[in-house]
Amino acid sequence: MEIDPFIFRLSIFILSIFVGYYVVWSVTPSLHTPLMSVTNAISSVIIVGAIIAALAGSSEVVFETSSIFGFLAIILAAVNIFGGFLVTQRMLQMYKKKKK
């Protein structure tokens, strides 16, 4: 019997939870705020779904109900991607070592 592709995705998901678990425990507590802002930025990779949704219309009808939700999601995710990465960058620039 063939294995349902869902099982493969589930495997990826569960293994990623474990990867996340170990990687996040190794994050230094002083960088917990940048951790939150960067996880925020990367979870906006949901924009790939938004793009597919937005481009589901035809050349004649670009804006139909489903694609409008896609376009709205693109704006939201884009705010997050740019905002998230840039604010993380801004924070990380501030962490400096003692001048010897």
């Binding site: 678990y21 906006s44 938004a50 793009i51 694609s67 704006i75 991607i81």
Partner: protein, 464 residues
Amino acid sequence: MSANLSAIFYLLSGILFILALRGLSSPETSRQGNLFGIIGMTIAILVTFLSINNFNVGFIYVLVFLLIGGSIGAFIAFRIPMTAMPELVAGFHSLVGLAAVFVAISAFLKPEAFNLGNVGNIKLASLIEMSLGAAIGAITFSGSIIAFLKLRGIMSGAPIVFKGQHLINLILGLAIIFLIYYLCSTQSSSMFWSLVAISFLVGVLLIIPIGGADMPVVISMLNSYSGWAAAGIGFTLENTALIITGALVGSSGAILSYIMCKGMNRSFFNVILGGWGATDQSSTSQNKEQKPVKNGNADDAAFLMKNASSVIIVPGYGMAVAQAQHALREMVDALKKNGVKVSYAIHPVAGRMPGHMNVLLAEANVPYDEVFELEEINNDFANCDVAYVIGANDVTNPVAKSDPQSPIYGMPVLDVEKSKSVLFVKRSLSPGYAGIDNDLFYRDNTLMLFADAKKMTEEIVKSL
């Protein structure tokens, strides 16, 4: 681009996201990590464009909307003051949640665009995945909005509790499961819309009973939810990058919530079900008037610290509110010129989000190797001359170690009272968030400095 090739690229961007988080293990590697994250995101977006192969007019609109959103995001990122970081993060979480809801709605309305079947005949597994994504996304959205309003001070930080709250939440929770079940068997769109509506309501009800100082837990929890919502959508779209990212973010937020709960010695459910020590507030406030406190001014504080050989600074939320971090750095610079050794002690739940104090100190150019976590520095208080407590309260209360009756008993606290003298900057003797009196105020070695944190610190700088 073939589906297999794009799947490989999505995997690549997932791996780059893992490296982005890995980079945060130390400040030196963190900037490179952030770059990995940006590359991963760019790959994911480009691959999506290339795999669609449908470059109609809509494509231009996609770019336009992407740029609109991007400019708004960039504008916010450059303008936001560091003290507003907790509400910014809460606000960003709400956007991820809403984006997940919108993508799920779109997939429900036009499943053929996502290869999920047809309207009224969507594949069962996809239907479950998208309804979970939509429900969790909606809870994340409305919950984060409430957290944002509370952190921003638009809504009072006080817990909002009413009778039968837990019962209502339970009923609504069951209703969500019920609706998902019926949605799957009937494919009815009214079930789908009710599911989204109820989930929005649950998000609001879940966060309103949680008080201001518990926000570190809430914000981490919402971080986790936004990850699970993304993962749910990832399963729907059969997209590896989204599944990996969702799992990473989900577990990251869960770990942060755990660390925050441990920092308060409370269980996750205890925090989520709201309210802390609100009951015995009145009894403790009665006897506090009689106890004498030693009251000092900026000159006393300056004198004490100038003649000390080591000083430990204990910052808390009050420092963030007063924006005292820059004044504090000036004070420390002046002390260092006098040969005083200065370090900073950070409690895990100081401030309103994980790592809040560290970011503010970094903003004020405090080198990160002078800043220590609770376990690293707690033994040093016994050998330190002066502890300067600025805007922290409950996290220094020795009662947590001595009185089993106290609501904060067992919470890890900074052993501030062990230092030779304690300077406590506070506006009044009012109890902290936990509603209990701080024993530290009345100790012989404590000098209270009644003032705004920033003003007091500036005055100390002057008299140094």
